[in-house]
């Protein structure tokens, strides 16, 4: 990858990630990956009880080293395909510095991955 591309990132506002798996399946499809391999894998944290009746429970999709593995696609095309299908619209792909600004505005439960 060129210098410029490595400056892109994937922001997840996981306050709203519903665990719908669409990003995971979308990228698997566009990368032609079989069962057992993922371009993005959605992880689940929790549920565990913080205080009685109040739970910590988050889903967080994590990009893998297979992002960019389909030579037929333009750089970033696979991640964008996942982002477009995100049902909660809680993913964003773009330059890292812009995403960092965005994250600061969004507040809690935001993660940025370099992709």
């Amino acid at each position: 990858m060129s210098e410029k591309e490595t400056k892109n990132g994937l922001l997840i506002h996981y306050q709203w990630c519903t665990g719908c798996h669409a990003c995971e399946v979308a990228i698997k499809k566009i990368l032609n990956l079989p069962v057992g391999k993922h371009g993005i894998k959605m992880l689940e944290h929790g549920p565990w009880e913080v205080t009685p009746g109040k739970f910590e429970w988050d889903y967080l999709p994590v990009p893998t080293q297979l992002v960019g593995s389909n030579p037929e696609l333009a750089p970033g095309e696979d991640v964008k395909f996942a982002v477009k299908h995100c049902n909660a619209k809680c993913m964003e792909y773009g330059p890292l510095d812009e995403l960092a600004k965005k994250a600061a505005e969004l507040g809690n439960r935001v993660a940025i991955f370099t992709v």
């Binding site: 798996h21 669409a22 069962v35 477009k84 049902n87």
Partner: protein, 756 residues
Amino acid sequence: MAMSKEWKTENEDGSITVRTSAWSPPGDHPVGYGMKLTVKGGKLIKVEGDEEHPISQGRLCVRNLTLADYVHHPSRILTPMKRKLEDRGKNKWTKISWDEAWDIIVPKIKEFKEKHGAESIIVFGGTGRQACIYYYPLGFASIGTPNVCYPLSGWSCYGPRCSITDYVLGAGYPEIDYAGFYEDRYDDPRFTLPELIVEWGKNALYSNPDGFFGHALIDMMKRGTKMIHIDPRITWLGTRCEEVCQLRPGTDSALGLGFLNVIINEELYDKDFVENWTYGFDELKERVQEYSPEKVAGITWVPADQIRRCARRMATAKPCSIQWGLATDENPNGVQMGHAILSLMAITGNLDVPGGVTIGPPAALLGKWRVETRRNLSEELWEKRIGAAEWPALSTAMATTHPDETLDTLESGKPYKLRMGWFNSSNFITPTCSAQPDRWYHALKSLEFNVVQDIFMTPTAMAFGDIFLPVSTFAEQDGVVVTHFGRNAVTLGPINEALRVGDTKSDIEVCIELGKKLHPDMWDYKDVPDFFTQQLEPELGVNFDKLREMGVFQPKYIYKKYEKGLLRGDGEPGFNTVTGMVELSSTLFEAWGDDALPYFKEPPYSPISTPELFKEYPLILTTGARKVTSFHSEHRQIAVLREIDPDPEVELHPSTAKTLGINHGDWVLLENMFGKAKLRAKVTPTIHPKVVHATHGWWFPEKDAEEPSLFGVWQSNINTLVPHKHIGKLGFGCPMKQMICKASRLDSFDSYNIEV
């Protein structure tokens, strides 16, 4: 922004991209997700969301993202097949042509009609797929029988809610206002964002219920909407809500009455609406005195102060919307639960206002034809509909047989013997739309001739089919998808054929083809597009080709229709009910022998109604919460989806699991006095220690197809634990979500075999 006119484009590499609106099969509800399907050399090579679609905006669920895996699945059935009667249950099928299939089917139908009357033929329909619109005309107008059956005990899906709404509001289905009627959605000035949404007995995120795009909830929460979830489980959605009322399964109507008690006694209701547009407020006021928050807390496990807090919030949030779920239907006390919820919507002034609860007109969009197909049946024949006379509250609103009476008829041969079955997209011996599927299984064996219409070989088809007719997926057909099956038409979209794999036909094609052979006067359509044009033009003024170019049709919504005389046939203001008002006290419920007002009744089996049995079966069993990876019994053969959800699952609280010696991931046997099922333990603190939740729809396409295995259909069949005919007074509802059971650890899945 209107969608572009082009719906079919040729790409540089010779592939074709077709814009379409998703429905089923593969199953989903009629959301009509905007999709683009790219086809090359007879293969779907790309499946993606359409950004231009006003509701889905490019998003897709995993079932649609794996559409190509489904369409091109190696075990899909692609030609009609026949099997000898003595080979039922055996994998001994012979491929035939459609003509050959018709040559067997048509004379059989004629013979049954002549010898035993058309009523000896019964059509079974499944849930949610397109077939649930077409199985009625298939029965009434193509075959000519009055017996069309949705086999779920108490008709416990959607039908009860529609019927209650019809009787109490005289309107179509009530739905959250999610600005779906507007091209620019939430930004449209006519729309107001709900301040509060109450999600009751439902988790729309994963079910897209009845065509509501579930993630609209997230869209609205991001804009500031707050939510209350009423559910026996704390769900992920619950963790994003202001409150979760974690109630005892099946006690919803008590909770509703508790909320009404607070709102009425604290005079928080909309006085103007109550005075001008409701009937029976004083009676309701008197009734709710029996349901103080303290008493309701004892019944429901929801603390009294939380009941007060939530009731006040519902009454003072403006606007507030309530979305009721399948839990309303799957409850023998569900009519009362629904009545209480509609009363809450009404007296808080949230009916038919921006950001509140939208209601459809009394007649379903495109429903006219469906109703009219009944004119093919004589009065005399129509009166033979099974269970119709005994259950008027059901048979007035629903055009089907009574499901429980139908099983009784199959078992007893009374009032007459059923001889031929047509299973249209209904795989109901798997734990889907029947209670005690094992009983249905034995009873259905008495049928002399069966046609099964489906995509894959299913346990039901393997057990009963004599003829198998292969259905095409929505990627392979022309059609129309309308939210709420037309009962609250937020959007209407064209389904455009992108390809055709094998020799398959859509439900409407089968209706037309068979209809032309048996009742040609009912089927005066050139082809499928002509059929849809004839449906669309009179009501909407567009033909099918125009709809294809529009991409989506959003009918205009008018708020406060009751003020403008738009709900009643006579054009007078008010609601289309007996009294012309929202009936807080129901004239019809009383006329049919039930209480006119909502009340709470204990579930048929519970710690309170059957304390002795509860000692032996000390857990409350609730079933059927949806997974994104399947639609009821579908998708179990799609590897990518099965990777995500490989097994049937039972949720247990850590303390319960510990007492029983069950670890996360263990196989567990659930059993009660009616049946047994094996599921994998998911140990989670989000469920109450006294409650377990089991997923439904399970069979195993990878297991032995033949009898007695039938793809392992009896191994994880949770509906065998739910009894037949434990229904409400009006004939609706069944205890799918409030049974009792016990749980024990199994060494492995194979260490215990379940036989029926």
